[in-house]
Structure formats: structure tokens, C-alpha cells
Symmetry: C2
Subunit: 343 residues, 2 copies
DNA sequence: TCGTAAAATTTACGCGCGTAAATATTTGGA
DNA sequence: TCCAAATATTTACGCGCGTAAATTTTACGA
């Protein structure tokens, strides 16, 4: 590679023998130039290291190639995982993902959206905080920038929503728990941030009734995203308190369940399916760590490959079509039962 | 807020009654204009919603306000946590953090650096993959862009390195383990990605010798970042294989330990300090989940607040001074023992 | 009140690239 | 071989802002 520094497209035009407008076309879409010129350009790119100045590019393009990706909390491996999957899909589509985490705070969520606004993204994929989200302002944003929601829905906001079918997944695990032992109580937070938690609670009640059992809700206090801690603290209270109507607890999500498993262990309560076990605990989400809890956590996995794929697909269609979809799209994907040792 | 859309600084100059060059000064540094004009500008900003086009700004500025932040794997909550801390510090300093994850792959690491290059960052904070990093190319990058390494060192690359004092922290936990029970064997990977793993191994050997014990290394196969899985698989082999010389295992990091705890549980081996326990397991790093394992994982926490603070401090100094530091800076921070139930 | 330093305004240019229009060249099939 | 369609080149302008130089206005102390 020659080391003569090329500072702009004009310079690269000189050394490559291709006119600047043609180069501009090439960089916008390599397929838009004739094969022979494309090869000439690529040969020159091998020889001279040049890349268009992205600031100049984006200043002039009607539409940037940026796609914003906002998740509620990157510290949660669940979101880290889905973010990674989505990033990969965005890159594969020739766009540039910009990953931001709201760190559990609605102000940060808005600040993320505002940062994105000044980056003029072609579109945004948003997994909102949920109940805590400042819905009005998120809605305003979504009217200006094509936005697709995933994981958690904000009613009517954005062009589409893709998430999990909580009815199906909760049915699945309630069925399993009832079939294999005592019907479960449902352990969740009193005022959960995540709208999925509400849906799961309702789904639990419906599933129990369908099976002819009395639903039993345990709703604990606690704010924030420290779910393991909440599961631990409140789980300890629960397990050392008055006798439950059953030996089976279905937690609203895996992180609560992980905390509760820890509480059970601390209190000498054996969890699992064996003869000596006196408690069964199940979760929801198939958190990356659920395979390694003691015992392994029985849970239901979300089909987040499908959620990711569909979200990106839709956002790309949205970008292509320039104008919004006809009506707000919504799709829920089914979960799969992950049977492990805890229930 | 009036809704007359202002599309550029000239328009905002018109409605605010402040000349464009003065506005430009203000946006670069609000303190650089007289208080009275600053107030006029800010009053106008309240009224008319205008923000400079960041692409135009960055095209013309000698130096952008971007600071790149590259971590090896965001799926690991440890890195997600430190990334979050560093992001906060960067924002507080008036810069714009760009977070990228290498997803455990050296190609991705380079591709991240290349993405950053075209963003013309003022500086980059890099937690390299370690052994897997393509050192030559990372070095080339670091010569072009002011770079500070943290967490894992690449000898001689970048302007500075900040990490943990593995000698101190391993000493701390080996001391503790020997003091409170049988001396530990060291469980790690044969060819670890992370250079810290090598340092910890050496530190373990030195600590054991210092205390007059025979070091005993267990080095297992395994590639990639699936540490829990490796800890689980290899832990199972270890625990069901020939008798160990001791009942105490010190793992190279918490994620291995978490996997091993799971393997112990599966095999009916009781871990902990109690009378019925036959195995002690300790880790290193104080992973966010280590509090919730069963039993809680005894480990040593890294002072990553200090590492983050010092890294950002240095990168800001580097940006200020324009030219590099006098000599490569290095500092190691001490760990703290976290005693829990597992050892 | 005046004088001077500090700050704001006016004017003007350049950054690197997108893009449009007119023109020239190449391509591939009849 | 020729011709129309496809593609490339030439020329030129604009994007929104940084920044420099010359000039005018403002602030503030003696």
C-alpha cells in the first residue's frame, strides 16, 4: 500500500483515474457503477488507503446510514445479547448501528433519543423502559424519526412493535408446572417497570383459571433494576414467612428467580425436583445465567432471534418505503420451555 | 416554544439577534462569550429549538468531541458495568462516548477501531481482547489516535495502561484461603485470552511459595468467552476425577467459578464453609452475579471505579496536551476481598 | 469623562462531499 | 458496422459550520 496520504475524494480521484462524481456514486452504492470501473476503484482502494469523510458524507446525504438502537439496560445480559444480535443484522444490511443504553432511567432514555436526533438516524430501534418511559416525549420523537419498538410495548407509539407472546409462554410454563407438581403462585413486583410483567401476571391468572386452580399473586415492593437483589430480599421474607399455599413459585422473570434461589439456599431450603426438595422455582426469559444456577433454572426462553430479525426487517422496510407503514404492525413470538432442575 | 423551524445557525442568528460567529463560539464553549450574550443565547434556545448540525460541526473542527470506548465483550456484565461508569465520566467531561464491543473477536476489535478512525475521535479508551488482539494493527491505530488501555495490557501499546494489581489481589485471596483452610489449587485455562489470567497464575505460584506451600495448577482446554460453560464442563471432570490434593479451588475469574459451582451442585458436592461442605471455591473479579450464587462466591473485587476514573482523567489530559505523555503511564489498582459463603 | 481592553459584528473563505445538468464515452446487440 | 442505451466525465453549486481578519461596539476603571 502506497503511503501517499489522500485527504479527500478529489485526491483519490486523481490517483485512481476515476471522476469524483463516479466515486461518490460508488461509495453510496458500489453496484451502481459498471463492473469494470468498480474493479478499478477497488484496485485503487487496495493501493491507497482512502475512506470518505463520514461527516461530510452525512452532512449532504438526505438520509444517513445510521440506525439507532436503544436498550433499557446494557448491564442486563439479556439486553446485551439481543443488542448484539440486532447490531449484527444492521451491519449485514449495510447500515451503521449506534447502541445506547438507558441505564434504567427515563431521563437517560430521552437523552439517548435526543443524541440520536442530532445524528439524524435513518431509523431507530427502541426497547423502551416501559412504565417509566416518558411516553409523550418518546411519542414526539417517534413521529419525527421512524421508530420500531421491541421487547416492551408503548401503546400506539412507533411504527411497529415486536415482542414475546406472554400469554403463550406463561401458559406453557403454568401448564408444565401444574402437570408436574403443585400449581404455582406468581411472584412479581407490585409496580413493575416492564409492561411484560403485567401481561405475565394476567396470563398467569387466566392460565390458572383455565386449569381450574385458584391464582395466587405475591406482589413485592422494590424499585429499579436490581432484580436479583429484590428477588433475594423479598424471597427471603417469603420463604421464612407464613406457609405458602403451594411448593411452587413462578417468578415474573429469571433475575428475580435467581435472587430467590439464592435466598432459598441461604435459608437452607432445598429447591428442585428431587425427593428432598421442598420448593420449586421457575422463571421467565432464559437469562444467560439460568443454566448455571444451582439448580439450573426452569424457565421459558424468548425467541429473541425472531424478535431481532423481524424488528430489523421492519426497520429496513420502513427506511426503504420512506413513508410509514399502513397501520401499526405488531407481532408476538412464542417462547419455548427450558426444563432444568429447579422445577 | 415557537415552532418556526430553524434549520441552521444563520437562522438562529436571525431570531436570536446574535451574530453567527459569536454563536459558533458559544456552542464550542459557552464560557467563551460574555455573560450577557450567553444569557441572550440561552433565552433564545429556550424559545426556538435549534441544535448545531453535528456533521457540519465535526467536519470543520480540528478535533471532534468524540471519545471511543471499546470493550472486549458487552455480554459480560463486568464490562457492561465498567463501560457504563466510563461513559458517565466522559459525558460529565463534556465529551461524547461511543461504545463498541468487540464481541470476543480480534477482527471485530480491529473493525471497531477502524469505525472509530473514520469518526475521528479525540481519543480512544480500549480494553483489548488480550492475547487474541492483533497487536501490530492495534499498535498502528494507537500511533494515529491517542489511546489509553485499561483492564488488559498490551505491552508498549497506547499512551497508558490502567488495570488491577493481580499480584496484590491474588496474594490477598491466597492468604485468606490458606489462613482459613487448606491451601488452594489454581484453576484456569491453558491458553487464556486475557493477559490478567497469566499474571494471576504467576501471582498464585509466588504467593503459595511465599507461604511455604506447593503450588498446584489445573489448566483446562477451552476457547472463547463461554467461561461459565468451560468452568462447568471442566469443573465436572475435575470434581468427578481423581482426588485433588486439597479441598480448595481458586478460579482465575468469577465466571469460571460460577460454572464450577454449578458443576459441583450437579454432582452433589456441597460447597462452602460449613461442616458438611467438602469443597471451597473462590473466584476473582466480583462479578455482579457472584453475590447470588449458591453459596455466594468468595472473591476479590477490582477497584474499577478507580480504574475508570484514572483512565478518563488520563485521556482528558492527553486530549488537552495535544501531544503524548512523557513516557507510557501505568498504574495498577488494588483489589478488595469479598468474603461470602463459598470459601 | 475619557481611554483602552475585551467582546461582538461584518465579511469572507474553506472544509469534503452530494448532486444536478450537460456532454462525452463506452457498451452490446442488430 | 452502426446506433441507442447505459455509463462516465465535466462543470458547478450548495450543505452548515469553523475560523480568520478587519472593524465596530461595549464594558469598566482611573
Amino acid at each position: 500500500m502506497s503511503d501517499s496520504k489522500i485527504k479527500n475524494m478529489e485526491g483519490f480521484s486523481a490517483v485512481s483515474g476515476i471522476s469524483r462524481p463516479t466515486l461518490s456514486k460508488y461509495f453510496n452504492d458500489p453496484a451502481s457503477v459498471r463492473k469494470s470501473t468498480r474493479e478499478k476503484i477497488e484496485a485503487a482502494l487496495e493501493k491507497y488507503d482512502y475512506r470518505p469523510n463520514i461527516y461530510a458524507v452525512n452532512q449532504n446525504r438526505r438520509q444517513t446510514k445510521n440506525i439507532g438502537l436503544v436498550v433499557p439496560n446494557l448491564t442486563d445480559p439479556f439486553f446485551a445479547g439481543i443488542a448484539r444480535t440486532i447490531e449484527g443484522l444492521i451491519v449485514k444490511a449495510g447500515f451503521n448501528p449506534l447502541l445506547l443504553s438507558s441505564h434504567g432511567g427515563p431521563e437517560q432514555e430521552l437523552s439517548n433519543l435526543n443524541s440520536l436526533r442530532s445524528i439524524k438516524p435513518a431509523a431507530v430501534l427502541l426497547a423502551p423502559l416501559g412504565r417509566a418511559s416518558l411516553a409523550d416525549q418518546v411519542a414526539t420523537f417517534a413521529e419525527e424519526v421512524p421508530t420500531v419498538l421491541f421487547d416492551a410495548n408503548l401503546e400506539g407509539i412507533g411504527e411497529a412493535f415486536f415482542g414475546s407472546d406472554n400469554d403463550q409462554s406463561i401458559n406453557l410454563i403454568v401448564d408444565y408446572l401444574c402437570r408436574s407438581g403443585e400449581p404455582p403462585v406468581f411472584f412479581g413486583m407490585k409496580t413493575p417497570i416492564n409492561p411484560n410483567a403485567y401481561k405475565r401476571q394476567s396470563a398467569y391468572i387466566a392460565a390458572m383459571k383455565r386449569l381450574g386452580h385458584e391464582p395466587h399473586l405475591i406482589q413485592v415492593d422494590g424499585e429499579g433494576w436490581n432484580f436479583e437483589e429484590i428477588g433475594f430480599q423479598e424471597g427471603a421474607k417469603l420463604l421464612t414467612g407464613p406457609q405458602l399455599p403451594t411448593n411452587t413459585i413462578l417468578c415474573s422473570n429469571d433475575r428475580l428467580a435467581i435472587g430467590m434461589l439464592s435466598a432459598a439456599y441461604e435459608n437452607g431450603i432445598k429447591v428442585g425436583l428431587g425427593a428432598q426438595a421442598t420448593l420449586r422455582i421457575a422463571g421467565h426469559d432464559d437469562h444467560p445465567f439460568s443454566r448455571f444456577t444451582c439448580p439450573g433454572l426452569t424457565t421459558v426462553s424468548q425467541d429473541y432471534d425472531a424478535i431481532a430479525a423481524r424488528s430489523v426487517e421492519t426497520i429496513l422496510a420502513l427506511i426503504d418505503s420512506k413513508r410509514g407503514l399502513k397501520g401499526r404492525e405488531e407481532a408476538l413470538f412464542e417462547g419455548r420451555l427450558e426444563m432444568r432442575g429447579s422445577a
